[in-house]
Amino acid sequence: MWTFGRRIAAGFALSFLLLAAIGFVSYRGLSNLQSTSYQVTHTHNVLEHLARLTSLAKDAETGQRGFIITGDEAFLEPHTSALTELPSVLQELRKLTEDNPAQQKRLDDAERLLGEKVTELKRTIDMRKKGQVDETIKAIQAGAGKRFMDELRLVLAQMEREERDLLKSRGDEVEATASTARGTIIGGTLLALLVVLIAGTIVTRALSGQIGRAIQHMQSSSAELQASANQQAASAKESATAMSEITTTISELLATSRQIASSAQRVTHVADETSSAARTGDQTAQRTHESVGGIKRQVDMIVSHMLDLGKKSQQIGGILDIINELAEQTNILSINATIEAAGAGEQGRRFSVVADEIRKLADRVSASTKEIRGLIDEIRGAVNTTVMATEGGTKAVELGARQFTEVTASLKSITLLVGNTTEAAREIELSTKQQATAVEQVNLAVANVAQSTKETEASATQTLQTATQLSTLSRELLRLIQPDVA
C-alpha cells in the first residue's frame, strides 16, 4: 500500500539519490582535477630542474672556456658555483622522478655523463693552470668535451620529452574529467528536475483524490456523528430519568433488606432459646429414660423371681404328689392290714387298731396334702396374676421407655431442626446483610452511573458541537483541495 507519506518519501528519496549521485560525481571530478593539477605542477617542477641542470652544465663549460681563453681565474666563478649546485639539483631531480623508473635510468645516464664532463673540464682547467695552453686547446679540439655535452643534451632532451608527454596526457585527463563532471551535473540536474516533477504530480493527484474522498467520507461520518450525538443526548436524558427511578427503588430495597436482616436476627434469637429449651428437655427425657430403664430392670427382676416362685411351687406340687402317693399307698396298706387283722380274729384286733390309726394318719396326710395343694394352687394363681400384672407393667414400662426414646429422638430432632433453623436464620441474616451491602454498592454504582449519564449527556452535547465543527472543517478542507467540487 502506497501511503502519502511513502509516496512523498519515495519522491524525496529519489531526488536525494540523484542529488547525491551528482554531488559524488562532481566531488570525484574536482578531486581528479586537483590531483591532476598537482601532477602538472610536479611535471613543471621536473622540467624546471631539467632546464636548471642544462643551464648548470652550460655554466660549468662557459667558465672553463673563459678561463682557458683568458687564463683569468675570475672566469672560473660560474664553473665553480655550477659544480657546487649540481649535486643538489641532481638529488632533487632523482627525488622528483622516483616514481618513474625510465626517467631514473635516464637520470643515471645523465649523472654519469655529467661526471665524465666534469672530469674532462677539470682536466683541461688543470692543464691550463699549468700553462699548457696548446695542449689544452688540443684536448678541447679532440672533441671529448663536446661529445659528452651532446650526449647529455640528448639525454636531458629525452627526459624533457617524456615529461612533456606526461603533461599532455594529464591535460587530456583533466579535460576528460571536467567533461564527465559537466555531463553528470547537467544530466543529473535534468533527471532530478524530471523526477521531482513526476513525484509532485503523482503526490498532488493522490492527495487531491484520496484526501478528497476521505474528506467526503469524513463529512458523511460527521453528519452521522451529529445524528448519533443527538440520539445519545436523548438517550442520556432518558437514562438519567431511569437512574433516578432505580435509585428510589434501590433505597426501598435497602430498607426492606434491613428489615429482613432484623427479622432474621430475631428468628435466630428465638431459635437459640428454643434450642436451649429443647436441650434441657432432651436432658430431662434422657434422665427419665434412665429411670424408666431402672424400673424395667426391677420389674424384670420381680418377674424373674415370680417365675422362680412358680417353678418352686411346681416342685412343691411334685413333692406333694409323692407325699399324696405315699399317703394313698399307706391308706391302701392300712386298709389291707385292717382286713388282715379282721381275719386274724381277736389277736388281730390290736393290730387292727394300729392299722386304723395309720390309715387315719394317712388320711390326714392326704387331707393336708390336699390343703397344701390348694394353697399352692392359690400361690401359683397369685404368682400367675402377679407375673401377668408385672408383665403388663413391663409392657407399660417398655411402652413408656419406647415413648421416652421417641420423645428423646423427637427432642433431638427438634434440637437438630432448631439448630438448622438457627443456622438458616443466621445465613439469611448474613445474606441479607451482604445483600444490603451489595444494594448499597449498587446504589453507589447507580449514583456513579447517573453521574456518568449526566457526563455522557454533557459529552454528547460536546460531541454534537465537535461534529458540527468537524463538518464545517471538512467542507473547508475539501474546498482547499478541490475548489470546483466544494
Binding site: 386298709i335 379282721a342 390309715r359
Partner: protein
C-alpha cells in the same frame, strides 16, 4: 363282737356307699390294666392279672345300675371258690355295722335287680347299701363269669 355286728369294708359308688362283709374281702389295691372281653355284659369290665392270676373285674356302678364313673380302687373278693375284683370309686374304710341300725329292703324293692342288696342304712348322711355276702353275684353274672373263665 356281738352277733348283730358285722365288720364290713365300706366303699363308695357314686352317691352311695356300699358295705361289703369283710370275710369276703382279700385286699384293696389300685386299679390295674383290664383286658376287655368280647360279648361280655356291661358290668364285666374284663380280665386283669392280679397276684399272677387272671381275675375278672366287675364294675360296681354298673352292677348297681348307676351312671358310669372312674374307679380308683379294686377290691378283690373271694366268693365261694371264685376270686374276682370289684372296681369301686373309693374305699372309705373298715366299719363295724350293727344290724339293728339297718333296715331290710321294702318289698317293693325286692326285685331281681336288687337281690344283691341285703339291707340299707346311712353312713354320714349317705345311703348305705349292705351287699349280700352269698348273693353278691346274680346268676347272669355268674354265668357270664363262667363263660369268661371258660373262654
Amino acid at each position: 363282737m356281738s352277733a348283730g355286728a358285722v365288720q364290713s369294708l365300706v366303699v363308695a359308688s357314686g352317691a352311695r356307699a356300699c358295705a361289703i362283709p369283710l370275710s369276703h374281702v382279700l385286699e384293696t389295691l389300685r386299679p390295674l390294666p383290664v383286658e376287655a372281653l368280647a360279648g361280655a355284659p356291661g358290668f364285666l369290665r374284663g380280665l386283669s392279672v392280679i397276684r399272677g392270676k387272671p381275675t375278672p373285674v366287675l364294675d360296681l356302678r354298673a352292677l348297681l345300675e348307676e351312671e358310669p364313673g372312674t374307679p380308683t380302687r379294686f377290691v378283690t373278693l373271694r366268693l365261694s371258690e371264685r376270686t374276682l375284683a370289684l372296681a369301686v370309686d373309693s374305699v372309705l374304710g373298715v366299719r363295724t355295722l350293727d344290724r339293728a341300725t339297718l333296715a331290710t329292703l321294702p318289698p317293693l324293692l325286692r326285685d331281681a335287680s336288687q337281690r344283691m342288696v341285703e339291707a340299707v342304712g346311712t353312713l354320714d348322711a349317705r345311703l348305705l347299701l349292705v351287699l349280700k355276702t352269698g348273693w353278691l353275684l346274680p346268676p347272669e353274672v355268674l354265668n357270664a363269669l363262667s363263660r369268661a373263665e371258660g373262654s
